[in-house]
Symmetry: C2
Subunit: 328 residues, 2 copies
């Protein structure tokens, strides 16, 4: 099947406008009246015309494509993040080129592909990025924004929750309740989110003379379920468990239920994220609300202004604790 | 910042190979020895060379971009689908341009954007597509594949579970257990998945002289929780509830638990999909396993061969029932 290529000139002729008006109608963000826009779109539809964004991008150097690299596709928190990014970027005329990166660290060839498609910026959620790759992107003048994490050693933008602040607030809550037998189930230990939550939580309690028992998790339900079941079977029933994210807390919660531990009376449980299922009545998990909408807005702000700035930006948002049924 | 543009010739010179070899290394699917590939990639890295996929696409007419339009970003089933698509398409050298469509029906301008980016095919999961848009895509020679649904009236490919077969199998199971007080909580009523599951389930039982009580849901946890709580409060405690998808069944399950209904003794619950959390011990939901990997493979097969075929293909896969704790 051979496609008949329709030119902008033909559309302009049918719509009775200039060719530059047709061009403006198909340029994201360009000014054009609603009436003219409608006329041009109708003519375009009649002729089956669609401008070639890729050809245009070679001239304007703007592709309107943002690369998004994500690893933990199983974590509901990141599904929500993807949905919000996709929606908000669309409103600004941008599209998401999505890469699900299976490796712990983003690979050279994944970045190569982003470069090949002339993405205008790269958003990296939970995958790791080597300083060598960041340098390569900097050389190509492509801003990188770490979302929900930061790395001091990397020269790139980041937007995350103030995890130290949040974890200290949670610790203060736990301390006020008078608990002393306290468990923290970690996330992946090499992530900034886990590092800061663990630091904020344990340091606050340490200052009060309380040692927190650290149990290694990996941000999955399955691991948290397993380790919690294990320490209950070993005869340790803590007064409170703080899970490094909601999925971890839900895994712990289900293990406690299976062992007939009364929640929150015998053991209270606290998570972090406020994923949708944490508010389901069966769980009703007390947790820290990460202000995802705000985090996405901040990321897009950086993205829109990054060409004017030299220094990378670090944004931290706060969020707040929500008390549901798993705490007294 | 002005980028220095490095040409393939310079890379060829440094790697001591021909320019066409450099070109082959950067063409997805082209044959080249591992040794040569390594040599070229090293030279490319030294020179900070990356080929322009967009410029190449104007010549080859191949962008290696697949558009993926999805609506129900809150349903874990579709997260899994997105992850698997992204991974398997990558293996074939393709990238996913992701569009989260908020409207019930895919809009003209969303398709416009896909056309602008010269996507090679469009995969549509749960959003609706008008026959007018399908026709427009056909004119542009872009194959459309409906995933997890089909529409007889639309001239496009589809890959879905054989929902009528599956629902009849579930009905046979329910019948064999001797239940007569049976509730089906629907999904969104205008979807092919709900239509077929409802049809297969109710028709089988009708043939056995049993009327199924239909309660309208919408494929969300929240709605299923609400309606189930409602009919329990109204004094109706059915022997079994079949939810149109897992999220629906989990909502029903939690409402039953809140009302202290013993599961599965008083009321059994069955879902459809086998999302990850259905196997969590707290739920252990009996459900129909949709063979997602197989469905994605079939979709990619259609995608790879669609240019050679004129007639759209309809693929139905089977899947199977898994008995967990919510059935006797």
């Amino acid at each position: 099947m051979v496609k008949k290529v329709v030119s902008a000139t033909e559309v302009a002729k049918l719509a009775n406008v200039s060719q530059s008006t047709v061009s403006r109608v198909f340029t994201p963000g360009a000014s054009v009246s609603e009436k003219t826009r409608k006329k041009v779109l109708e003519a375009a539809e009649v002729l089956n015309y669609h401008p070639n964004a890729l050809a245009r991008s070679l001239i304007t150097k703007k592709t309107n494509i943002i690369g998004l690299a994500m690893k933990d596709i199983q974590n509901p928190f990141y599904h929500e993040v993807l949905g919000i990014f996709s929606k908000k970027l669309r409103e600004k005329g941008y599209f998401v080129l999505f890469v699900y990166t299976e490796n712990e660290e983003i690979q050279q060839d994944e970045i190569h592909h982003f470069l090949e498609y002339n993405v205008e910026a790269i958003i990296v959620t939970d995958a790791l990025l080597s300083s060598k790759l960041v340098e390569q992107l900097r050389k190509n003048d492509i801003p990188v924004i770490l979302f929900n994490r930061y790395e001091k050693s990397l020269l790139c933008n980041s937007v995350s929750c103030d995890n130290i602040y949040a974890a200290r607030e949670i610790a203060a809550y736990v301390y006020k309740k008078g608990y002393t037998d306290i468990v923290y189930i970690t996330g992946k230990i090499n992530t900034s989110t886990n590092r800061d939550r663990q630091k904020g939580f344990t340091e606050y309690l340490k200052e009060k003379g309380i040692d927190v028992k650290i149990i290694e998790g990996d941000y999955t339900y399955e691991r948290a379920f397993h380790v919690t079941k294990q320490f209950i079977e070993d005869g340790h029933k803590p007064e409170v468990i703080f899970g490094a994210n909601d999925i971890t807390a839900l895994g712990a919660l289900d293990a406690l239920k299976e062992k007939n531990v009364r929640i929150p009376k015998e053991t209270a449980v606290i998570g972090f994220d406020d994923i949708r299922m944490s508010s389901w009545p069966n769980y009703a998990l007390s947790t820290w609300i990460q202000p995802v909408q705000e985090m996405v807005d901040e990321t897009i702000n950086i993205l829109m202004s990054s060409k004017q700035r030299k220094e990378p930006q670090t944004i931290k948002v706060k969020g707040h604790f929500i008390h549901r049924n798993t705490t007294v």
